[in-house]
């Protein structure tokens, strides 16, 4: 279910690190309630794109508009108010290893929204249950959990504040196919339950096909193609075809040095 006005609009976003131009003019719209998946190989700028939207990196030029509000250069209270509307699942889970699981999940409620600890713990246990984890897990520390459980906790943390927009950074990387599918199902369920807008970056095509309403492909810092998820196999774009089918031969050339 999408609305006409884009929830997130990127126009001409560029970002360089030294002489390396990572983003070279990204134009992208994400509709309200839409689940957009950005696919692309390693080093094509997916994570940088996500960090620019989140405000963790400052773009060199271009515009990032969220709900009609320009966010590039936004600071202080305005930025915090904007961040309160976001949820984020990090690639490596990024759980705070000095805090128990429940406090990780409740962190945004306690620190960002000043919810009392007792009420926040109840909410955290509720969110842990939503991702299939029992209350006993709440008192463990992240280091005591498996990779799949850490991803679930990270997902619970991302949805704990019931955000309007949720970002997923490689949500299935490093998981076995069954656990990856469990995470995909949880993402779909959580996003639907919240009615949130979701922006996911991944190179896992099975995940992209499952959770996307629309897919966009990034290559060399530009959006090369975008369209409905079910039309990806008929994109007519040789770069997309090569990526989707995981072929070594094609227009995308990997820099491999001969032995």
């Amino acid at each position: 279910m999408t609305t006409a006005t884009p929830k997130i609009r990127l126009q001409g976003v560029t970002k360089s690190f030294g002489t390396k131009r990572v983003l070279q003019g990204i134009d992208l719209d994400v509709g309200g309630g839409e689940s957009l998946v950005v696919i692309g190989g390693s080093g094509t700028g997916k994570s940088v794109l996500l960090k620019c939207i989140l405000g963790l990196l400052q773009p060199d030029s271009g515009s990032i508009v969220i709900d009609g509000q320009e966010t590039v250069g936004m600071r202080g209270g305005e930025r915090i108010a904007l961040m309160n509307r976001f949820g984020m699942l990090f690639q490596g889970s990024a759980l705070f290893d000095s805090l128990p699981v429940w406090e990780n999940v409740a962190f945004g409620l306690i620190q960002g929204r000043s919810v009392p600890r007792k009420a926040a713990k109840e909410k955290a246990l509720e969110k842990l249950a939503a991702v299939g984890l029992g209350p006993d897990v709440g008192d463990l520390y992240p280091a005591e959990l498996s990779g799949g459980m850490q991803k679930r906790v990270s997902l619970a943390r991302a949805i704990a504040t019931e955000p309007e927009i949720i970002f997923f950074d490689e949500p299935t990387t490093g998981l076995d196919p069954i656990m990856a599918d469990v995470i995909n199902n949880l993402i779909i369920k959580c996003v639907r339950d919240l009615g949130a807008t979701a922006l996911t970056i991944t190179h896992d095509m099975a995940s992209a096909r499952k959770i996307a309403d629309r897919i966009a492909m990034i290559y060399q810092g530009r959006i090369l193609w975008s369209g409905p998820a079910d039309s990806i196999d008929a994109s007519g774009n040789p770069y997309v075809d090569q990526f989707v089918h995981g072929r070594a031969e094609g227009p995308i050339e990997m820099q491999v040095r001969a032995l």
């Binding site: 960090k51 989140l54 405000g55 963790l56 915090i80 961040m83 309160n84 976001f86 949820g87 984020m88 990090f90 690639q91 490596g92 990024a94 759980l95 705070f96 290893d97 000095s98 962190f107 945004g108 620190q111 960002g112 943390r157």
Partner: protein
């Protein structure tokens, strides 16, 4: 020409580094005085820095006081000034050795731990996660450590001063056969408020510098385990060097005629 370019590049990098540190310090200080505050985190840092450093600082002070008494006695015996041992011990410990050696020990223990903890948080994206959860990492991670360092090192140095003087007393009375009462009265007779206050001011500055270096290098660490290791080393080395430099500056400020 390439030599000059290399020198110029190094100098510019140095200036850029100083600029980054100054900006980091200013931002961190501004977060120390603006709400929200995190009393729970400040409390945890106070316990980490103050309570858990007590054994290492206490042992350092004890043996420093003992060695000082022994060394000054054997040295002063050459010109019949053995009676000055108690005064030398108390002045050296309160003015210099308490804050400097205490500071260096805490730099090794706490500066390294801070850099390693914050550096690991940086490379595992935990600092990005803090920002994504609407929490300023400067306020949540850096400000509590700076405040705890600033407050707790003077407390540690008060303890170090007492233990250091006690170490000198032990050697003086039980090994060098001083009279206990006259040793203590000699210690108090020449001790002035400024001696203790200057040591505590040094301790506060050193505590701030140790926490600042730990946080700064951890916060800017890059590239996994190697980057965290480098940040830890840099935090300890830079804090130790700054302690020695600032020690001279503060001594000049208090005692230069």
């Amino acid at each position: 020409m390439s030599f000059l370019a290399a020198v110029g590049r190094t100098f510019l990098n140095f200036l850029a580094g100083v600029g980054r540190l100054v900006i980091f310090t200013a931002v961190a200080l501004s977060h120390c005085v603006r709400p929200p505050f995190y009393p729970r985190l400040i409390g945890r840092q106070i316990i980490d820095i103050g309570y858990y450093s007590l054994p290492v600082v206490g042992l350092t002070a004890l043996f420093t006081g003992m060695v000082l008494a022994l060394q000054s006695f054997t040295g002063f015996a050459r010109f019949n000034a053995e009676s000055a041992v108690a005064t030398v011990v108390v002045l050296s410990v309160t003015r210099e050795l308490g804050p400097v050696l205490g500071g260096l020990m805490v730099a090794g223990r706490i500066g390294a731990a801070m850099a390693a903890e914050i550096g690991t948080m940086r490379v595992t994206e935990q600092i990005d996660a803090l920002t994504a959860l609407s929490t300023s990492p400067m306020k949540y991670l850096v400000a509590p450590r700076l405040l705890a360092g600033l407050v707790m090192l003077p407390c540690l140095v008060v303890v170090a001063d007492l233990i250091g003087v006690f170490g000198g007393f032990l050697v003086g009375v039980y090994k060098l056969d001083f009279n206990a009462a006259s040793y203590l009265s000699s210690s108090w007779q020449y001790l002035e408020t400024v001696d203790v206050v200057s040591g505590l001011v040094k301790a506060a500055v050193f505590g701030f510098l140790i926490a600042l270096m730990g946080c700064y290098h951890g916060y800017h660490s890059r590239g996994g385990a190697q980057g965290v290791g480098a940040a830890t080393t840099n935090a300890v080395v830079s804090a130790s060097i700054l302690i020695l430099i600032f020690n001279y500056g503060i001594t000049e400020l208090f005692f230069a005629r």
